[in-house]
Every structure is written in structure tokens, then in C-alpha cells.
């Protein structure tokens, strides 16, 4: 039963994203702010750091494909970027001290990179004409603030879930 906890969390986060997306754009003081919920990729980065890169990349590929087909209609965009970000997370995390603070900071930095790459892609295929300055102030900044609130609230839950899963798995291996 507990084996399905991680895919279940992924699924719930995947469906939560568009629900929170309904609240955006948010008008704060006459400025329209775009808030993009990125719960799944943050969870996947945590999965890479505390559980297993292989699992994270697999889930990234699967949910990326769903995302591509359901929302974007461009297959290969998210299904490439999700695993790629996980890979980058694994590569960077080898060189930094392992604790919750560094994991949170790393996740936020990678999230910004992720957003920026998507912006560059959509600029390339001219689906958007947003100038860089507008992107930084009305999209990237609000998105980072909102997602960091989410991560600070739930990051330690993610971590504890994965650590218990990992110890359970190790115990099982020990049995055989």
C-alpha cells in the first residue's frame, strides 16, 4: 500500500496545478501577476535528492508526457524538461551539503531555470512576445514567491515521506 504513496502524491500534485492556475492572473495594485503553480517539478526535485534519480526521471517523463498532451499540444517539451531538471538536480546536489535548506534553495534556483527555459522556448516559436523585463517582473517573480511559500510549507513533509519510504525499502532489501 505504502509503495503507491509517491506516485499518488505525484498524481495529486499534477491535478492540483491547473486548479491553482485558475486563480491566476492575479491583480495586485493594478499590476497583473501571473502565478504558475509548479508543484510537481518541485516534488520531483525533492524525489531526486532524497530518494532516487531513476524514479524521479521516470515519473518526470510520464507526467511530462501527460502535461504535453493535455495542455500544451507540443509533445516533447515537458517530457524532456522534467527529467532534465532532475538530472541537473542530482549533478548539483553531489557538490553541496545535504540539508533541507540547501535542498529548498536548489529547488528554487532550478525552478527559475526551468521557467526561463520555457520562456525562451515559447519566445522561439513566437507564441509569446513578452519582453524580458516584463517576464521577470510579472511572471518569474510572482511565480517564485508563490511556489516558495508552497515549498517552505510542504518541503519537510516531502522529505519525511521520502525518508520513510527509503528506509522501508532498505529494510526490505535487508530481509532478502
Amino acid at each position: 500500500m505504502i509503495r503507491f504513496l509517491i506516485p499518488l502524491i505525484c498524481l495529486v500534485l499534477f491535478f492540483m496545478e491547473p486548479v491553482f492556475g485558475l486563480f491566476s492572473p492575479l491583480n495586485v495594485g493594478g499590476e497583473w501577476n501571473y502565478i504558475v503553480p509548479r508543484f510537481l517539478i518541485m516534488f520531483l526535485i525533492f524525489l531526486t535528492l532524497y530518494y532516487d534519480l531513476k524514479h524521479a526521471m521516470f515519473y518526470g517523463l510520464f507526467f511530462g508526457l501527460l502535461y504535453d498532451v493535455f495542455y500544451i499540444d507540443i509533445i516533447g517539451l515537458y517530457s524532456f524538461l522534467y527529467p532534465a531538471i532532475c538530472l541537473a538536480a542530482a549533478a548539483v546536489f553531489k557538490r553541496v551539503p545535504r540539508n533541507l535548506l540547501s535542498a529548498t534553495l536548489l529547488t528554487l534556483v532550478l525552478l527559475a531555470v526551468f521557467e526561463f527555459l520555457l520562456y525562451q522556448f515559447f519566445l522561439l516559436i513566437s507564441l509569446t512576445g513578452m519582453p524580458l523585463g516584463t517576464f521577470l517582473t510579472t511572471r518569474l517573480w510572482p511565480t517564485m514567491v508563490a511556489n516558495s511559500i508552497f515549498l517552505v510549507m510542504l518541503g519537510w513533509v516531502f522529505k519525511s515521506v521520502m525518508v520513510t519510504q527509503l528506509s522501508e525499502r532498505d529494510n526490505k532489501i535487508g530481509l532478502y
Partner: protein, 294 residues
């Protein structure tokens, strides 16, 4: 130090990139069509999504209710002043409607560009990454939704259907940057109806651009813009917005008006899909004219 990129990995990476570029360009080329596996995935995800969107709509509904409760007093006073006008207007509308019916019968005209069958739908998701303005609705081709149908709220036009699967449909909002997205519109309120095209969206002002209006025609700020039905796709008379500013377009030959949309594009919940009674004409916008002859 272990080497990150061995030869084998490098080749795999290159192959991956090639495959990726091929996939992206392939799916970019015909985004208007959905293949069968895509349809199955869309329907499955749509079913799951509607489970999650229901409680969300419930919560936003509560907020809306509280909000309207707070404004009750002011609204009530405002409505009371309008009520007396309303009775008169209603009688007049009834009279005009029956007269219109009679005249139509005399002329023998049965179909009207204004008539449409409404299909009620609920928004189950909004494209969460918001680079494109898209909605996903819980009604699809099984319920009679087809591509290019107009989508509106009670307040006005919001977009058109771009993709359908058996149980979901994708709507591209009118506030898109897509240059091929046009709505034939007309300005009402003057002595004569003025025709133009809604083409493009000013993201900073959050207003639509009404282009190709004859330079000689005088327009007023505050005039209402409705769909004209002449594009062959939308029914006639759906409210689009009101004019806020009139300028000359970039070539100096025709006029350009900024139109403030009547509908609110954020927090969309329930929408109406308009299935026009008069058959839709396949135009340049959907590019399937050739297919129909077979």
C-alpha cells in the same frame, strides 16, 4: 573524479536531442489535429481533472457568495432604480420580438445568423503554464461540440473551440497573441452598423484591438462591439466589449479601436458554447474547405 559524459552517454544524449527536436517539430506542425492516443490521454486526464476541479469551484463559489453578500446594500439600491425602467423595456422587447417573428414569417426567412443552440459547459482546467490562453471544458464531440464554435459567458464572448475529443474540448481565449485569430465584429450604437475585425490583443492594456474600420467613419468611445456573424463561424450579436479609445492604425489608412472586453477572463467557471443554427462556413481560419468536397 568520475566523468559525467562518457562516450556512450554522449551518443545517447545526442540521439535524445534529435528525437526531441523531431517530436516537437512534428507536433508543432499539426496542433489542430488530435491523434487517437492523444484523444485517449486527453479524455482520461480530463476525467481525473474534473474530479479535482469540482471542489475548487465549490470553494471559489463560496468566496463569490461572500463577496456579493458584502455588496448587497449598494446593489439593491442600484437595482431598485433600474427596476422601473426594466418593466417598460421588457414590454417593448416582447412587442419587438413578436413583430420580428411575424415579419420573418411574411418574408419566409427561417434561419437567422443570431440563432444558436447553447451547450452548457464547465471549465475543468486552465492551461497552468499560461503561455497560451487556453481553457479545457468538460463537453466534447459526444455532446455536439465542434471546432470553431464560439464560447461565451453570460457577460460576453471569451473565445472559440480549437480542439475536441469525445468528452473534452479546448478553448482558445480571445486574449491570445495568435495572429491568425480573428473575429468579425461590428460596432453598434451609431446610426449605421460599422464592421471591422477583432485582431490581436494588447497585453499591457488588456484590451482587444478592433482593426480595419473605414477611416471616414466616426466612432464614439463607449460604443458597444458585438460579433457580426459574417465571419461564417460565430453567431451574430454576441457582446464582445466597449470601445475605450480610437486611433489610426500603423499604416495610417484605417482606424483602430481599443475594445475593453465585456467578459472577465480570470476565474472562469461556467461557460456557454454556441452551436450556430445556420451551418458554419469553412473559411481560411480553419482551412478544411477542401476536405468537405469529398
Amino acid at each position: 573524479m568520475p566523468q559525467l559524459l562518457t562516450n556512450k552517454r554522449l551518443i545517447l544524449l545526442l540521439l535524445g536531442v534529435i528525437l526531441l527536436v523531431a517530436l516537437i517539430s512534428f507536433s508543432l506542425r499539426d496542433r489542430g489535429n488530435v491523434s487517437l492516443p492523444e484523444q485517449i490521454i486527453k479524455d482520461a486526464v480530463g476525467a481525473g481533472q474534473s474530479v479535482f476541479s469540482r471542489p475548487a469551484h465549490f470553494v471559489t463559489g463560496i468566496f463569490d457568495n461572500v463577496d456579493s453578500l458584502l455588496n448587497t446594500f449598494e446593489e439593491n439600491q442600484h437595482l431598485k432604480t433600474r427596476l422601473e425602467e426594466f418593466a417598460g423595456v421588457q414590454a417593448e422587447v416582447k412587442d419587438l420580438r413578436s413583430e420580428n417573428e411575424e415579419l420573418k414569417q411574411i418574408v419566409g426567412k427561417e434561419e437567422d445568423l443570431r440563432d444558436y443552440n447553447p451547450i452548457q459547459a464547465t471549465v475543468i482546467a486552465r492551461n497552468p503554464d499560461q503561455w497560451e490562453e487556453k481553457l479545457i471544458l468538460n463537453r466534447g464531440s459526444n455532446h455536439g461540440v465542434a471546432e470553431n464554435m464560439a464560447v461565451m459567458t453570460a457577460r460576453g464572448l471569451i473565445g472559440k473551440v480549437t480542439l475536441t475529443t469525445p468528452t473534452t474540448s479546448t478553448v482558445e481565449l480571445i486574449s491570445t497573441l495568435n495572429p491568425n485569430y480573428r473575429v468579425s465584429a461590428m460596432v453598434v450604437g451609431g446610426a449605421k452598423d460599422v464592421f471591422g475585425l477583432i485582431e490581436g490583443y494588447d497585453a499591457e492594456r488588456r484590451e482587444l484591438l478592433l482593426k480595419r474600420i473605414d477611416a471616414d467613419i466616426e466612432l464614439k468611445e463607449g460604443d458597444q462591439v458585438v460579433s457580426s456573424g459574417l465571419g461564417g463561424i460565430f453567431p451574430k450579436g454576441i457582446l464582445i466589449g466597449t470601445i475605450t479609445e480610437i486611433t489610426i492604425d500603423e499604416f495610417g489608412l484605417t482606424k483602430l479601436a481599443y475594445v475593453k472586453p465585456a467578459a472577465d477572463f480570470s476565474l472562469l467557471n461556467h461557460v456557454i458554447i454556441a452551436d450556430r443554427v445556420v451551418p458554419e462556413v469553412d473559411g481560411e481560419d480553419n482551412g478544411v474547405t477542401g476536405d468537405d468536397e469529398s
